[in-house]
Subunit: 138 residues, 3 copies
């Protein structure tokens, strides 16, 4: 009825990392025709987005926008113990997604033609991020 | 157990289009007492919001805010092939929602008194947008 | 199969109010091993966030960021009937979450170590906010 899996995503600093293939790979190893897939990131300084995966400029423009919008200037924040990217990481995560649920049809995510699922790493140094995959069978 | 439906929403350029009635109409044609409804937009330059549907000024102020926040100036972006509203559309979608799940009780969405579900079109020209409705019966 | 509950959260003006304990308390009174918990706020001027609950400076910095980003200046808005915090409340809600779904494992939310669930009150005066808890058993 419910299947779940823990994905580990190794990041190399700030940016968007596509995880569509890893999610699709897990789905393909489970013979589930239809259901609801929930992707949940267990962190508050990394987040999720569904965005265009055709032109790589889209994700680099997205990263640059969030860099401009949420300034890395410790005078603006109290929570600064882990450096200038610490509090901006939490804010950028708050502006994007902790969870995304995607309908599954014929064993596959019902994504649009250009949609990919991304982990958005907000910290400057590499991290290992835990992403839960949770599938309710229909 | 799982019911699904594809909604097509014809937009006439940038702005918020209420789809509460269309979703409620589909629900009413299915005798499901309780469950979880997931609304998923299959695009990366249109998004979803649940917002006040009492005063139409709310959605026009929302549109104006996102216009100011995400500037249409191609010098800021690399992904500019489809015009000045191209990359800002992806960013505005990233700041709002690709998916919203709403509890269903007594055959209806358990929305608050003033809540409506909106498709947020970010592109300047009219589009036909695909919105998946996905209902898990309880 | 589906369990639901209405949580009432009394707020004392703008800020983030942690509701992790109240949600966990409700879960612990229901013998459900695994499932999907959906938290849904029935308002458009209050919202939800999953954020760090270790250092209280994080939520005060988050509140300050949204105060700076969405200016309380009625000259910017048409929807001003309830005061300078009226339209900014809707915008801040639109930038955060109306709903969050969290996998439940071994009877508990599968949150990361530092993750807490917050109601984000955007209005200046105290409110009683309704939050739906909706659990699909697996």
């Amino acid at each position: 009825m419910i299947l779940s899996h823990r994905l580990e995503v190794a990041t190399r600093g700030k940016g968007l990392y596509e995880i569509t293939g890893q999610i699709a790979g897990w789905l393909s190893r489970n013979p589930v025709a239809s259901g609801l897939l929930t992707v949940f990131v267990q962190h508050t300084s990394a987040s999720l987005l569904v965005q265009e995966n055709a032109d790589p400029d889209v994700v680099s423009d997205l990263k640059a926008f969030f860099d401009r919008l949420v300034v890395e200037d410790n005078r603006l924040y109290r929570h600064t113990s882990e450096g200038p990217d610490d509090m901006p990481s939490h804010i950028r995560a708050a502006l994007t997604l902790t969870q995304i649920s995607i309908p599954v049809e014929d064993g596959r995510m019902a994504l649009g033609t250009w949609q990919g699922v991304y982990l958005f790493e907000h910290r400057a140094v590499p991290h290992r991020r835990r992403v839960l995959l949770h599938l309710i069978e229909g």
